[in-house]
């Protein structure tokens, strides 16, 4: 054992051995057998399990996105109803006749 106040970067073998003895619980085979027996009931997160987990998450996310998209599309459609036939006939033309066309028509008539 070293000077109690030294700052040593190497393991203290005496202290380490004493602590190891103090902390050693013994019965290692019993413990290992116990862990392995419980491990039989644990499902390892293999690649197919991970994929399945992601697949479930993906399906849930897709459902949410589809519902949200449907909602917004529905709102947009309701805000701007389709024009009726009479609306189209009564409405002024989108592009008024240009001056050149009107003049040519008048001159042509004369």
């Amino acid at each position: 054992m070293k000077d109690p106040l030294s700052f040593d970067h190497r393991p203290d073998l005496v202290l380490g051995k004493a602590l190891r003895e103090a902390l050693d619980p013994g019965d290692a085979p019993v413990f290992i057998a116990r862990v392995l027996a419980h491990a039989e009931h644990v499902r390892v997160a293999s690649w197919d399990v991970v994929l399945a987990r992601w697949a479930r998450t993906g399906v849930a996310a897709a459902l949410v996105v589809a519902l949200a998209a449907g909602y917004f599309v529905g709102r947009a459609t309701a805000a701007s109803p389709r024009p009726t036939v009479s609306d189209v006939l009564i409405a002024p033309p989108a592009h008024p006749a240009e001056v050149e066309v009107v003049l040519a028509s008048v001159i042509g008539n004369n």
Partner: protein, 194 residues
């Protein structure tokens, strides 16, 4: 006392085959997981006991941690050493269990015991020394306890302990220093006999 044998820390004997063992365990080969359990059972139980004090609780925590590690094996980065990854899970499991435990089972430390006491010449005295050491360890802050056990008992480097505990390397050095200063007082008589 005879010269102490160098410890056989898991960190030093870690095998190069661990990424392969992990891959096989993930693929469902329980024998591969069994090898890992055998290799790390000792250190996992000691680390858990350093946190919890009580041997039964420590074994429960170590078992929970190993089963948790089995479930999370796909998250293990094979480029890094397996031991620190597992011990981080062990330390967390033990800490969680200690927080949940409503009654602290470790008796408070008798301050007089840390001042030395009779030399442990016999088995009974050695058992008493072990008990005193556990009590002295229990008096330390948890992080300090883990740092000194991982460094002096298990042989992990300061950097590896920093990774396990999630603290800076300089803090690990400080924790080991303070823990040693406390525990060495207890072992002073033993040192003279050795």
């Amino acid at each position: 006392m005879a010269d102490p044998q160098p410890p056989q820390p898991v960190a030093r004997i870690a095998q190069q085959d661990e990424p392969d063992l992990v891959a096989r365990a993930v693929a469902g080969e329980r024998a591969a997981f069994g090898i890992l359990v055998e290799r790390y059972a000792g250190v996992a139980r000691r680390v858990a006991r350093a946190v919890l004090g009580n041997a039964e609780d420590a074994d429960d925590a170590a078992q929970d941690a190993m089963l948790s590690a089995l479930v999370k094996l796909d998250q293990y980065d094979a480029r890094r050493p397996f031991g620190p990854w597992l011990l981080r899970i062990v330390a967390n499991a033990a800490t969680d269990r200690r927080r949940r435990r409503s009654v602290r089972r470790v008796e408070p430390l008798d301050v007089g015991l840390t001042a030395g006491g009779p030399r442990p010449d016999t088995t009974a005295e050695r058992r008493a020394l072990n008990q005193r050491l556990r009590e002295a360890l229990a008096e330390l802050p948890e992080r300090r306890r883990l740092a000194v056990v991982l460094f002096d008992v298990e042989g992990y480097s300061h950097g590896e302990i920093a990774a396990i505990l999630g603290i800076p390397e300089g803090t690990v050095r400080s924790e080991v220093f303070h823990a040693r200063r406390r525990l060495r007082v207890l072992l002073a008589d033993w040192k003279e006999e050795a």
